[in-house]
Amino acid sequence: MARALGLRLIQGVLAAFGASLLVWLMLPLAPGDPAEMILQARRVEEPTAAQIAELRERFGLDQPYWQRYLLWLAGVLQGDFGLSWRTGEPVWDGLMRRLPATLYLVGLSFVISVAWSLALALVAARWVGRWPDRLVLAYTRVLAALPSFVLALLLLQFVVVGLGVGLVLSGGAGATLVFAAAVLGIDRAAGWTQLLRAGLIEHLARGPADVARARGARPRRVLTVYALPAAMLPWLTALGISLGGLIGGAPILETIFTWPGIGAHVLTALSVRDVPVIQAFVLIAALAYVGASLLVDALALLMDPRMRAGAVR
């Protein structure tokens, strides 16, 4: 099992750097001159050629792209993510200062989405084909089609402003964290609910569940003891894969809820092509995705002995 996990770890790190390389290769295709955009962000509306040349030299923008990537990679391996082109601040400092807030948001939204999707899927599978199931299905379809930012604005308009619950401007306040995490979590839970519901229904129709029912087990026990563990494996895999989506979705919601995480920082970096910040965020997101996948793999290995045997062979 340790060897299998070690292999996954190496694959994960390679995948993270592969992602960073991919982003680096794509950035030249993005329109707009970074030097000009950075100067405009500093209120230099009509930068002169000399100003642009100076900025290019300062940040090495004149070097060939591959050379800049290798320099960046060498720095990262030594823990140096370089300076933000926009602010001049060390990239790592800027991200680390904001990362805890993002982790709170993503962590809480993950808990909410797991609990919410589990509850809804169990209800739907328990009364499959009846009105609770139909209600859950309709709800998940609507939620799956509704962008999270629309949900966020509706919540702010009708709950915060309309009912006077909580604040629009968070400033890092906990109540806003709950709102933002709930929107992110509930939005993400829709797909997970559908997946788990399908797995539960499938396993409720299989032999072990039939045997349990023949032995007189109550429907709730059949559902939770016989169907749920078997249906959880693909659901857990989906959770791991979707964690990257949670991190990716956080910037928009952080911006709307004025949550002081990485979100607004990264969105601004994207708008002015602040490549060092974008690259570092991509690396962190990729590593988070890889870490979550590893965790899911470890859980799967623990839960399913057949996978362990396969890994050893």
């Binding site: 993005a30 329109p31 707009g32 001159d33 000009e36 100067l39 500093r42 209120r43 230099v44 509306e45 009509e46 930068p47 002169t48 050629a49 000399a50 100003q51 100076e54 900025l55 926009r86 602010t87 001049g88 601040e89 200062r97 904001r98 604005l153 702010l156 308009q157 915060v160 402003v161 006077g164 604040l167 629009v168 401007l169 968070s170 400033g171 890092g172 911006t255 709307i256 809820f257 004025t258 002081p260 607004a264 920082h265 969105l267 601004t268």
Partner: protein
Amino acid sequence: MILTLSRRALLAGAAALALPMAVAADDAHPPLRMVTSFTINSMDPWTQGFWMQEFGQAELLMQFRDDGAHHPWLLEALDKPEPTRWVMTLRDGITFQNGKPVDAQAVLAAIEAAIANSASARGSVPEGAVFSVTGPLELSVTTPEPWPELPGVLADESVFLILDAEAVAEVGEDWAQLIGAGIYTGPYEVTALDETRMVAVAHEGYWQGKPALPGLTLAFVPDANARILALQNDEADIALYPPLAARPAVDATPGVHFNLGALATGGFTGFMNLQQGLLADATLRKAVLRATDFREIAEDVFRGGVAQATSLYAQNLPFALENYTTDLSEAAALLDEAGWVPGPDGIRRRDGQRLALTLAIYPQQPDLVPLSTAVQAQYARLGIEANVVSFDGINQALMEPSNRWDIAMVSSGAASWGRVQNFLNSYLLPGGRRNYGGYDNAEVNALVPELATEADPDRRRAILHRVQEILWEEDPFAFSYNIHLDRVIVNDRYACYPPGFALYHVSWLTAPCE
């Protein structure tokens, strides 16, 4: 109370600083709460300092006001005794917030530090310019050639902020140490700055008088909807940078108001492509200009949210002409003269070729969608087909020869802080960084460099008038579709607050309405 108000009113009149202000009030006002879309990342004065003059922390030597002129601010006078020498005389009795005097030595140190550390300052100073102290409160600057744009340079927030250069140098690059260090001269001193907000408190020793508010909080809220919701939820008094599209909803919401201010120094500018396609023909370009209904754009399309363009420049600028007229008959006659005759579908043709133009817009300016749609309809009335294409990264895309376009719609400032030279150099001269359409007019090419060193105000005005005439009458290329208006959303308490002209959002007199 009466005495205080009278003194303040007298001071305001004497200073004649037309900063955004409501009626000055007593001490009981709560701090002002503003929300803005941009984040102030740090106290670094060289890359982030320009924000500080917008919200009442920092000040400049000169100020650009809505009469289109530059007025002394920290200066008492700006004189030009010789064509190549300016003399700057400081007001007496001004101090930095930390109590140090603002004398000629301190101002020289601020200017030299800016030139050493700020790309914007370096780019604004002509080669060979020498600043020197000539008295306790007097500096002079000499240049090899006349430098007529100096008043505008001194009023430009991204060039010379007046700060305590010694205190700035002491912190190295640990900018956080500048919080509470009182390095500026404005009425409100920064006491806190983080990712979410900036807090400033009144500087009791402010040189013009006691600030009207105890302080202010500026929250950074990138999402426009969240800014408006913050006002509705009474978490903010003033929201900056509202989208024009929000105006009907705001007007229909009790307790919040969409306030429009003075003319800005720019708008949506059209640039014609002379290098490819049909607009190489000057007659066709003239017809397109006369087919543009500037009144309809301002009043019907944007419902008064922008001002009608009457020339390349905003009407409050002293050198602006009023030479734009919409004349469909003249436009049709020009098209007939050029051989474009209406086809069976109403679109004009010449030698079998349809008169079809491509309008270039970009997604970062959503207001270009209704503008381009309206312009399509206007040109269609004359038998010109117009198609719209959107480019991300418009400045680069328009300079790329493989991209096909005829008229680019770009938000630009033809006279930011009253400075005209950058726009003319960049957009109109051959080889200019943003001469998108390959404009090359011999007379303009001679007039623009002459303007750069022309000190006589009458001659400067004549040059700018002539450039505007050429661009409308003889060799059209760049033209304004509209002039922007400053705009904010405010609550009832600040219902009388006018949007800050040239980004001066907060002055020492800013206060709730009485």
